[in-house]
């Protein structure tokens, strides 16, 4: 078990030495991930982990990749995508040029899902998707556009429930036990590293998606990140959050209107 004081000191040291700030992450999740990393490496105490990662940058890189990786799926929560088609696409179509930010894109499944949706809605050609994540390994996987074939059955079901207009298999080639997403989906996607806990806004967007990322943060960091999104949205721009996430802890709550309460889609109105 990891003692509280020790845990805080460890995170402070990591922040001091490497500039990665996990002090405002939700503790229970981070502690579980750190413990899993320590179990895997047969490290017995946080002190030993500190000795290992604070002196050896390669070891630290490996540690960071392990504790920041998130899993995702194609068209996760299909009704969210259905709602985007119904409530958001029409308004986005009025812009000559559309910029989307997918924050915390992990291994890219959500990015390719959005590219497919925008292709089917006839908007992909004039859209740029900025896909960012803290985790470089995950970003590289996203760039490669390869997913495991294991979950294709449930991905296909998700695609259909999300209102998919074609055959899902039009969008990938399967070989061995992997699928390669259609390369033409990728031409308007920019993958880049961005740390929500530390980095600033870098553009203005009509739509920002950040789904199931805020749940890993404490209330204070959630508030900061929502403010960052607020600053990064154009007037009447849209924000899509995860199913169990809200603007409850944000001082900007009143600057947003609910577009779809159930699917957590908001519009910046002030």
């Amino acid at each position: 078990m990891i003692a509280n004081e020790e845990y805080r000191q460890f995170l402070e040291s990591v922040r001091f030495v490497y500039g990665y700030d996990f002090t405002e992450y939700a503790e229970a999740s981070v502690i579980r991930r750190i413990s899993a990393f320590m179990d895997g490496k047969k490290i017995n105490s946080l002190k030993d982990l500190g000795k290992m990662v604070l002196k050896d940058e390669t070891a630290f890189e490996h540690f960071i990749q392990e504790i920041t990786v998130n899993v995702t799926e194609m068209f996760r929560d299909p009704f969210f995508y259905k709602s985007l088609r119904k409530n958001v696409i029409n308004r986005l179509a009025t812009y000559p040029f559309i910029k989307i930010w997918i924050a915390g894109c992990s291994t890219g499944e959500e990015v390719y899902s959005m590219a497919i949706l925008f292709r089917e809605e006839g908007l992909l050609e004039r859209t740029i998707i900025y896909a960012t994540d803290i985790n470089q390994d995950a970003l590289q996987k996203a760039r490669n556009g390869i997913s495991s074939i294991t979950h294709m059955k449930s991905f296909t079901e998700n695609y259909l429930k999300a209102g998919g207009k074609k055959s899902f298999s039009d969008y990938y080639k399967a070989k061995y036990n992997a699928v390669l997403w259609d390369k033409s989906l990728r031409q308007n996607i920019v993958f880049s590293a961005h740390n929500l806990a530390m980095d600033r806004s870098f553009n203005e967007f009509q739509l920002i998606l950040c789904r199931n990322v805020l749940i890993y943060f404490n209330q204070s960091l959630q508030n900061k990140v929502i403010s960052l999104f607020y600053e990064s949205l154009c007037p009447f721009g849209f924000l899509g959050l995860g199913n169990k996430e809200s603007l409850l802890f944000s001082e900007k709550q009143k600057c947003f209107e609910e577009v779809d309460k159930r699917e957590k889609i908001f519009m910046r109105t002030k």
């Binding site: 579980r32 749940i215 890993y216």
Partner: protein
């Protein structure tokens, strides 16, 4: 001290296949002012959003709700883990959720709830494993017992799916093995021994 004489800050329950029926049998015995928060992981389909809570609420006097992100855990509530998220307890007595990969093929996973609850509540925790067709919760039961908490498993012969209580019992860390009615009675007994707040 008898385990039903101890004081508890929280009760955690894990159930899988066959859980709905037994959950109704136990929870409907509790009064609306039941004074210990109950936190439940019931394995459920990921696209079923709130049906479980709605069905249970119709049968129970105690308040049934889905656990919200960062919600403060309070007596008088039975909280359920939402579909497709792990439910964790934070040190400040609030919930957090995460989308980490399934544990024991399950999300929500009973082990994830039990392990984090053990860290927070230590000896003032009561854990109950009910019917189910896998081994989720066994590791958590062990951890809770080692931290001084109380552990109960449903009598496997009375469970629709006995594998889960059996797996928990085989860890050697289950202190009481009871049928549904006895579990309900146990909860009512513990209620009488809590601090008046």
């Amino acid at each position: 001290m008898n385990p039903d004489q101890k004081k508890y800050d929280a009760i955690v329950i894990g159930a899988s296949a066959g859980g709905l029926y037994i959950m109704i049998r136990i929870l409907k015995l509790l009064p609306a002012n039941f004074n210990i928060p109950i936190i439940v992981v019931q394995h459920r389909a990921k696209d079923e959003r709130t049906l479980l809570e709605e069905v249970l609420q119709q049968k129970c006097k105690v308040k049934i709700k889905q656990a919200d992100e960062k919600e403060l855990i309070q007596p008088g509530n039975v909280y359920f883990a939402p579909p497709d998220y792990h439910l964790l307890i934070e040190n400040d007595g609030t919930f957090s959720l995460n989308c980490d990969p399934p544990v024991n093929y399950s999300r929500p996973s009973i082990d994830v709830l039990f392990e984090t609850a053990a860290d927070v509540y230590k000896q003032r925790l009561l854990a109950i494993i009910l019917t189910g067709a896998n081994k989720d919760g066994s590791y958590g039961i062990k951890k809770i017992a080692l931290q001084g908490g109380t552990t109960i498993a449903q009598l496997p012969e009375t469970a629709d799916y006995p594998e889960m209580p059996r797996a928990a019992i085989s860890t050697g860390h289950v202190q009481l093995v009871l049928d549904a009615d006895a579990i309900g009675q146990f909860l009512l007994n513990t209620m009488k021994n809590q601090d008046v707040c």
